[in-house]
Symmetry: D3
Subunit: 218 residues, 6 copies
């Protein structure tokens, strides 16, 4: 470890809610080490306050591309929104690896258990996620996806835990051996939920950053 | 980062060739940080000198299980053989995550490109790998697997690079956007091959350890 | 057929090349009937001169959405670019059906033969198309996709026919019983190629408009 | 549109119930235009009064083939029975396209929504339809198939609507974004059901004829 | 083994070529034992001299159904034509098991090797077989299917062996660990080809009769 | 049938419970004929009293391999444990065919019905079986797997029948047209359950031995 400093990992919150960015930043502190790559968490200024509709997701694509182009120094990028907006574009704009958190969350869960479950924030997103997982070619590993029925704003709060535990248990009952939190902002609940369920729980942003570390350091 | 020291990552070379273990250990140095988890590389004393046949792979399963049981302190295990021997067993013997390098290599490649290719050491292993990837449910992402035609002993040496580059180019021609080195011992060739191909190249042991870091630190 | 006039079918060329729009318009004349729905072919003013890169495709998404919202009178929309840009967005913005020509071309080919082949304009687009077809869940029906190696500008010209025929024959050799022209602008070659190959050849824009007719009239 | 008159589309009701043929004919009136192709609806004289059993379906295959051979003037054929009897045979007997309504209905639904649902007339037909959809390679797009529990004779009547709406809502709850009426005779209920569900509803015979129009006119 | 005599296995050659029936009968002699079920080989009088076209296959369906109904004493039926004609119908007409030789051959090969290959008599049948194997849901196990290029009449003769061996080796090169003879009449070549290839070779009629024995005796 | 005596079929019970072996032996008596192959049922002395955990399954792999090597005279082997332990290894150690009963049971069920169901002894084994069936590439044929909730020791007893019938009916309700008994020891219940359900019920050991007969005799 006496070589040049590793290049930074740039994590982008594509919505303009800086509280979300701060939450992501806190959840990633565990991956910062002396001599290790910087992990910068940025807020996409052009983003909507929350990425909820398909239009919200589409609206951040070009701004994400421009951000990527402004950071030729980056060693890797993480797009911290479970819809993986802009992933295809950004990959064409930089030779650095670009990770989407849905992809990374799903792939990391597949390294932990034969079948996985997903906790979606809302019923409406399940269809989009299924389409993404079909595109990924991994549907045979999906045990189920179930909606939390709690607003995004509340999803990191204490009040959400009971709902998370209920949905998590239902997914375990569906056959899931690992659970993915289908949102960028639920990391604070991760460990507690894993303990309650007795099964691994994946925060997808942490999963993506771990993969980014692997890419930057190898 | 002021909490207790993270638990160690235990990487097991299931063959008894300590030179292979030393090579793995060197390839993983990049993942060691002050305050980060220890990454211990162990040689399975009961293992054959090389894991080549199906019998070799089966013979290490119970010893791997015993090793896992002797290390309740471990935060994660990595089984550093591309056949992923003992993965199913070890996962039943410890609550800690256990990563197989074939699984981790494939999943990490899937986070880098839509379709991936695999460089196999020998023609004979391709069928086994296809069976494993079918079990993983990821065959729709495989662009191709091709054999290097070089002995394991030579696979990390300079002489192997020309063969690697030739096979890598053929896989890119098959549509692979990322290449997996289908062996625990080819890490030293990784960066050079990636440069030559202009495509990401995944060392599966590094990929597994990055995932293990993610699991231990999150 | 004494009811109100059917609502128009709005076909959008997402690039700003009006010659392409004119070609599409000409290819769709066969679907215009007295008393039938108008088939309007529009040029997306905000579009690039050609949609070739991923950025080009992303750049037209929001403008396509705005166009769709400006036409609440439309009975159906067709996005006339084989990358199907904006399809997901537009479907959330209007209750009218929205057809992408890649989707419609593939589905129409599946109604003509057990396995189909695709003629891609360029090698570079094959990977994107495979990803789209995996998302569609139809890869088991694909016999092959092969690149024409001719620029888009030339793809409707006489000079391209020899290349088309050569690639078409290769796809038939791959097992394709129907051939899709993987581009919005090759309709003038369709009938001649079908005759030469003795197999159905699908122009995807015509296929999408036929489906749109079905949706508007039913 | 000043060329020769387009060749007729021949729609065959493979059962001998002329009331069913008349209903199909009425549902297809919307596709008839001045100068457009004739759409002839024929009753297969040799057919059973209803195609309900596997033997019924097999018994119409050779007669359908003979009918196809007697119509070399046809531009396209539609076999108007949801079991798609004789489809494989007829395709070998004519160069004209032959559409089966199950195939066309499923493919058209796939152009309208990511996942579709099917309303079956009877529980007994669900297994056969699943087998057909597996053969089509489209099972990953199926949200569900549910039986109406109403006899074929009644399926177009007012009394069936409540059952249709109940089953349709259950399919939407299964994740279906488009609903296929799994029978040749339910077209009169289509629009009303679509309004009630707020989702596209596909009459498979209309879907097949729209595809036939596309093939005849292009 | 002191119970009543087991019920007979009725093997039907759906073509009217009695030489083919005699060949099948000879190939099944190995399965006849004192006290074991009779294995009767019947020629379908109504069948064509050879089942080659789709029409030939359809023409035998109803006669096969009638034959099945005339034999309520049968313990199991085998339809000895690789197109599996009448399989769906016959299964609805008798409670006795009905085996198709394509199905039985494929399933038996899957019990012998991870991936299998098929020797087709003619190029033209490969597409139909792929469609059948997709319907079976087993395409991920297919290493390849290749045509022999020898007429059915000759397929059991000595002259065909060189072609068989050449095609068999190519399939082994495709990754096939077991080879299926895709025709009812090649049993005499089976053992010699297996010896030449060093891989199991499946005669599908023998495979079906072994399964029928299992069903009748269990 | 005047050739040399056929080579014996060696059926190995990998647990050391000789009562289980005796039960298997009794269930296979129906396949023994004068002049037919001997069917020897052996108990693996090194096996645990029951194969229940993953460790139990792994522990018998090498002993099974050694047993196979000690029997070069065998014409075929059957590993009579539904986890199919040692199957991959044994296939590399002998040129004789080696059948696993899970594989044989599933494949035999696929010859009897379009979709099958599995009765598992315990909830815990369902996940392992799904993984095996994914590896087999046959998940599209699975209607469902449900646990019996009765201990292995009791699974052949009269008391288990009510549970079997209840689970079997539920699987039929899931769409299963054939039912597999997911255990080596339930053969005595097979015929009675088939009668109760009106659907074929497969004892996997009998299914494997029927396939072995086919391989030995052909």
């Amino acid at each position: 470890m006496s070589g040049p400093a590793p290049r930074p990992i740039v994590v982008v919150n594509p919505n303009s809610n800086t509280a979300v960015t701060a939450g992501i930043d806190a959840a990633l502190a565990v991956f910062r080490f002396p001599g290790g790559p910087a992990i910068e968490c940025l807020t996409l200024a052009e983003g909507p306050f929350g990425v909820e509709s398909q239009r919200d997701a589409e609206a951040v694509v070009l701004p994400l591309g421009r951000l990527v182009e402004r950071r030729p120094d980056a060693g890797a990028f993480v797009i911290a929104c479970y819809s993986d907006p802009g992933l295809d574009l950004c990959r064409t704009l930089t030779p650095a690896p670009v990770f989407g958190i849905q992809e990374a969350g799903v792939l990391s869960a597949m390294a932990r258990a034969d079948r996985f479950g997903v906790v979606a924030i809302s019923e409406a997103s399940i269809g989009r996620h299924l389409r993404s997982m079909r595109r990924m070619g991994v549907l045979e590993r999906l045990a189920g996806e179930r909606a939390l029925g709690v607003s995004v704003a509340d999803s990191g709060g204490d009040a959400a835990f009971a709902a998370l535990e209920r949905v998590g248990r239902a997914l375990v009952g569906d056959g899931a051996g690992a659970i993915i939190l289908g949102c960028a902002g639920m990391a604070p609940q991760r460990a507690r939920l894993a303990d309650a369920l007795g099964a691994p729980v994946i925060d997808p942003t942490q999963a993506a950053v771990a993969m980014a570390l692997g890419a930057v350091l190898a």
